[in-house]
Symmetry: C2
Subunit: 149 residues, 2 copies
């Protein structure tokens, strides 16, 4: 019977390791949902715990909250998501993870050759132009969340 107990924001915060302010923020952003007590306080179903966990892991993988919201939107609305649902979502990260790992490995392996040799000053350097667009006037950098890095 503990399975249908609702969680307060404080409890969810403790169990998930995510600050209450962040949980409210996630809710504003449509990433999680709550019911309210008569007095207006938030109450979360236990599946929210997994939802929050998913959000944090997805952030580590490099997704923005925007992307995570989109991913979560593909979950069933009517029923509590199953392990298969979560598994499917998580597996969609693989190409992204593989690409990131490949990038970092090429960076690591290229350091000695590339930096030492002087190509670091050339537009054609693979380290400098991993996206293959030499000198393109792109916008600012994107970020990869790296919690507890």
């Amino acid at each position: 019977m503990t399975s249908d107990a609702k969680l307060t924001i404080g409890t969810l915060s403790q169990r998930s390791g995510v600050a209450p302010s962040a949980l409210r923020f996630y809710e504003d952003e449509g990433l999680i949902h709550s019911t309210r007590t008569a007095g207006g306080q938030r109450r979360y179903g236990r599946d929210t715990l997994r939802r929050v966990a998913f959000i944090r892991v997805a952030q580590r993988v490099g997704l923005t909250l925007e992307e995570i919201r989109e991913a979560l939107a593909s979950l069933p609305e009517r029923r509590t998501p199953t392990e298969k649902d979560w598994g499917r979502l998580a597996r969609s990260w693989r190409p992204r993870l593989d690409a990131q790992i490949a990038l970092l490995e090429s960076l690591r392996d290229g350091l000695d050759q590339c930096i030492g040799c002087g190509c670091l000053s050339l537009k054609s350097c693979a380290l400098l132009n991993p996206g293959d667009r030499a000198g393109a006037q792109g916008p600012g950098p994107r970020y990869l969340p790296l919690r507890n890095g």
Copy 2:
């Protein structure tokens, strides 16, 4: 004779692929330096090209501008840095790169086991607590620059 030509900010921008505004910003932050013409315009030595290249690669590796400034501060002030100087700096990234790669790999390899099995909701999950601090109320996330991601 091209080797001692000074670069304007526009030329440096084109050659490095970094916007003029960013170059001015880097200068404000002490990451690069310029001399000025009589009229007050910036002129950069050719070694600044390499310096800027270093900054961009360092960002991809995950360093903040603060950290990059510190790294650059260890370069000789009096002479133009040699390839050995740059190589030494770049090699200091290795442990960091290795750690990041290891993290992403554990994330990738843990996905199927972890997300499918339900531990995603537990504080002891390795994916959720890579820093080994379950439920610690850490500050906000850190970022890993991921240009052209």
